[in-house]
Subunit: 148 residues, 2 copies
Amino acid sequence: MSGISEGGFGPRRAVPIRRAEALRLLASVPFGRVIFTRDALPAVRPVNHFVEDSEIVVVRTRLTSRLTSAVRAEPDVVVAYEADDIDPVAQLGWSVVVTGIARPVTDPERVERYERLLRPWVEGSMDSIVAIEPTLVSGIRLVEEKAG
Amino acid sequence: MSGISEGGFGPRRAVPIRRAEALRLLASVPFGRVIFTRDALPAVRPVNHFVEDSEIVVVRTRLTSRLTSAVRAEPDVVVAYEADDIDPVAQLGWSVVVTGIARPVTDPERVERYERLLRPWVEGSMDSIVAIEPTLVSGIRLVEEKAG
């Protein structure tokens, strides 16, 4: 993978993606990156996801530091969730970011169903099931600039 | 791209990547995602990058809100920077996260050199050149679990 300085492409234009289309794109890929704050620092972790009812982003992860999570339940926190599908050589593709409250899922029936639908890639990691409600949804698509 | 529920793979193990190897992997790909805080919310944006002297991650982006950036210069901020190369079907690959202070580059010679080396994919975006000093470097590689 390269493409930064190889040039040969005209400039790209970033076209905004509407909410419904952004959530559809997010649902079309199996993983993304959850962005949160841990010990007052920005943190990011790749995880796999699925999108329920074209709206709720469901992931299995842990959003707190080990110390905190050992002594109390995972609190509601605001997170961002990003997924993209970008061809770095052609410099074409899309990126979607959802921002919203991440709520731990505790209802046993939902937990059971989500655990079945969403297998973590890495076994043995201590995680919770988290549902992200997309308050803000944004996305861009990199497209070829039309000649003026 | 799919692979969440298709199964067929054994569990993966997440093996930590050492600092030098993590920075080498980061340098081997042309883009990643800068993670920062904007208006007290977690924010993320895909950008292209290069790694200078096997250490400093250089990107062109804007880390503040429009309002702030209109009235004063970009301040030093702590950011995370993530890049990965994950095959979601095979569930193999790596992810690297660098956390550190993002400093705007103002020295005219460095600005000129970085602008030449790092062409933004999208023309016309108001950006600054930012050098991220990696205080924390972490990474994982997803590998096949050996049968016990």
